[in-house]
């Protein structure tokens, strides 16, 4: 035993701020999801802004951060429970559940992109293409009788990964802006190919069969406590669990030697190579695992939305996904969660503004960036085992 813990306060940091945050966020998202009237929506947006400002200036934000890093595991679990609780309270509300699930799946996609450019520094402007690849795979395999739907999800990921394989050679060779062009080109190519080609439904798109688990079709509405729930309830719960699982893995990846290698490759390839890190292996691993996640998210999204067409996976959709990562803060998974909510829910909640909504959305995002240039929740320094004594 050594005397490390000199400046670590012996009193453990409280879990209360974390729990309160979860409660607040849960109630808030519930309210936001069901808000319909203009004044409700505007009020809630104003409330969020006020809370953020308050959190920044009173140091409340730091308290939450500290609390979270001291009790990460239970609080993460708490967050999952929070999400599930919101899902249950909304169980018969189709539309809020649809939006919630969409948010979750975009969040999932942002996790994939985070591995790619948050950790490894490989920009990917074809996120929507890989997401779409997953969805199209789900459409194709979903129609094959004997193909187990759960595997379809995996297949979606694998196909996206395989498509990524096509790009591996140029991607590994290029860096920075040059790599950006490779993915941009691929994204445009992917969408145009789907559009001009009739095999996969052409511009009209394809139906996607619903998700099925053994003995359970997700298109059926489950009955909860005697009440009929929305069929989106299935997807919401499933997505929440999927996100939790993949989140855990992404976190583990970040907090492992693999994540360290990714950071090293991003920050200084030459030095990394001089210390035995394989640049190629690291980049390929990051690119493919990112695409795997994008593909899985896309597959489930396709099954839920049940109809896909090339116009849903355009360059601007890719940019939307990139926005989530940047807005949240590069390499910061929780930031991605918040940003996904903003990017998915805000335009929707702004429907009341009709044709003005994108203008307003764009202006809001610009304002956020001007005040938080590093994103909403900038990435924290790596801590392999948060809360562990060594870590402090």
């Amino acid at each position: 035993m050594t005397d490390i813990a000199i400046d670590t306060p012996s009193r453990p940091k409280g879990w209360l701020p974390g729990v309160l945050t979860i409660l607040f966020v849960a109630v808030y998202s519930w309210a936001l999801l069901i808000a319909e009237e203009d004044w409700e929506v505007m009020g809630l947006i104003a409330l969020a802004a006020a809370v953020v400002v308050l959190g920044l200036f009173t140091g409340l934000g730091n308290k939450v951060k500290a609390s979270w890093s001291a009790h990460e595991k239970p609080l993460n679990l708490g967050a999952l429970i929070g999400v599930l609780a919101v899902i249950f309270t909304l169980s018969d509300q189709h539309f809020p559940l649809l939006m919630l699930t969409t948010t979750l799946l975009y969040f999932l996609a942002s996790l994939g992109l985070n591995i790619q450019f948050g950790y490894t520094g490989m920009v990917n402007f074809a996120g929507a293409a890989f997401f779409g690849a997953g969805a199209y795979t789900a459409a194709v395999f979903g129609n094959v009788e004997w193909f187990p739907p759960l595997l379809t999800l995996v297949a979606g990921g694998l196909v996206a990964m395989a498509l990524g394989l096509l790009l591996v050679y140029p991607i590994v060779r290029t860096t920075g802006h040059y790599a950006a062009v490779v993915t941009i080109a691929f994204g445009v190519l992917f969408k145009t190919f789907l559009e001009v080609n009739e095999i996969l439904g052409g511009p009209q798109g394809l139906m996607v069969n619903s998700m099925r688990l053994p003995g359970w079709d997700f298109n059926n509405s489950p009955t909860l406590f005697g009440m009929e729930a929305s069929f989106y309830f299935n997807y919401a719960v499933f997505a929440a669990i999927l996100v939790a699982v993949i989140f855990t893995f992404v976190r583990r990846m970040e907090r492992s030697w693999l994540g360290l290698h990714m950071d090293a490759v991003r920050l200084d390839e030459t030095a990394a190579a001089c210390f035995g890190i394989s640049i190629h292996r690291t980049k390929i691993l990051a690119f493919l695992s990112g695409n795997l996640i994008l593909g899985i998210a896309g597959a489930l999204y396709g099954m839920m939305i049940s109809f896909i067409a090339p116009t849903s996976f355009t360059f601007s959709d890719s940019l939307l996904m990139v926005s989530i990562v940047l807005l949240g803060g590069m390499g910061s998974p929780w930031g991605g969660a918040i940003a996904a909510a903003i990017v998915v829910l805000l335009p929707e909640k702004l429907q009341i503004l009709q044709e003005y909504r994108f203008l307003l959305f764009a202006v809001l995002v610009m304002l956020v960036l001007l005040f938080r240039p590093d994103g909403l929740l900038p990435r924290q320094i790596r801590n392999y085992f948060p809360g562990a004594r060594n870590g402090q």
């Binding site: 050679y169 802006h177 040059y178 190519l189 030459t270 926005s323 940047l326 994108f358 995002v365 240039p373």
Partner: protein, 306 residues
């Protein structure tokens, strides 16, 4: 394929290439000075073109109808307007984010692009519909055996290439050019040399955006049609062209622009009954070029060393 057709393709390609190159130049300049991707470039171009169009409407209303006078006034007005817009973007959106990850600049300019596009669509009178841009250049043409060589195309190409060459000279031969390149590499040391950092950055963004307006007007004069979405694709292609050509110097932008134009023309000429695939083809070739030359066709001289 007969000569006339071939010549026609060539002429088309050159025209298109010049236009792409003019857009690409802007991207190269912005990378050059601040190492940022300014995704709103295409939309700024569109804004400049609409500004020019508005001026034209005003001139018509004021009864000034000499096409050359109109042309000069339109160009001056739209380039000045866009240059000011570019400088404002640099000052209020790009510079404040200098310390943030460079991709965040991309996001903010991306959003700005959306905002500009939507604003024109919503607030320009009848902005969601295409507008008929006047043809102010002489519409004389020579028929060279099935191939129509048009005076306006020639003027546009010459003007465009001349502008790029002039810019390149400016960048490589003048004090301002030297300052631009210095600022790009090390802001603080550049200031220590007595360079007025802010002025140089704003000037670069102004120039790059002004060139975009030029490209936009050229686009309008050539196609006689402008619309609020015109910048989107032009921006995307300009960006790709800049990169494919290489960020080494402005000639990379020309090369990239012409390659892109060539790919599209060849794509639709060689794949006549599958011309829908021409973009697939063009972008596939772009990927291949990047795999072959990972830093573009005219790469920067590298200065990395260990």
């Amino acid at each position: 394929m007969d000569i006339g057709l071939l010549a026609q393709y060539l002429a088309n390609g050159i025209m298109l290439g010049t236009m792409y190159a003019l857009v690409a130049v802007g991207f190269t300049l912005f990378f050059g000075v601040l190492d940022v991707i300014k995704f709103s470039h295409g939309d700024v171009l569109m804004l400049g073109t609409f500004a020019g169009f508005t001026v034209w409407l005003g001139l018509e209303a004021a009864g000034i109808s000499n096409p050359w006078v109109q042309l000069v006034l339109i160009l001056i007005a739209s380039m000045a307007f866009t240059a000011a817009a570019g400088a404002a973007i640099a000052k209020y959106l790009v510079l404040p984010l200098k310390k943030a990850p460079p991709l965040n600049t991309l996001l903010i300019t991306l959003m700005l692009g959306t905002a500009i596009r939507e604003a024109v669509r919503l607030f320009y009178p009848n902005g969601s519909n295409p507008k008929a841009f006047p043809s102010l250049l002489p519409d004389a043409s020579v028929d060279l055996g099935g191939f129509l060589l048009r005076a306006d195309s020639v003027i546009l190409v010459v003007a465009g290439l001349g502008l790029i060459t002039g810019l390149n000279l400016m960048l490589n031969r003048t004090r301002l050019g030297l300052a631009i390149r210095a600022v790009a590499q090390d802001e603080e040391t550049a200031r220590t040399m007595g360079i007025n950092y802010m002025v140089v950055v704003l000037a670069t963004f102004g120039i790059g955006s002004g060139v975009a307006a030029f490209a936009g007007i050229m686009n309008g004069l050539y196609y006689n049609e402008i619309n609020f979405g015109m910048g989107l694709l032009l921006g995307l292609i300009g960006f790709s062209a800049a990169i494919v050509g290489g960020l080494g110097n402005l000639y990379g932008a020309i090369l990239g622009g012409f390659i892109f134009a060539g790919l599209q023309v060849v794509g639709s000429a060689l794949l006549p009954f599958a011309s829908a695939y021409k973009d697939v083809f063009a972008f596939a070739v772009v990927i291949a070029i990047m795999a072959w030359k990972p830093t573009g066709l005219i790469p920067e001289r590298t200065s990395d060393r260990v």
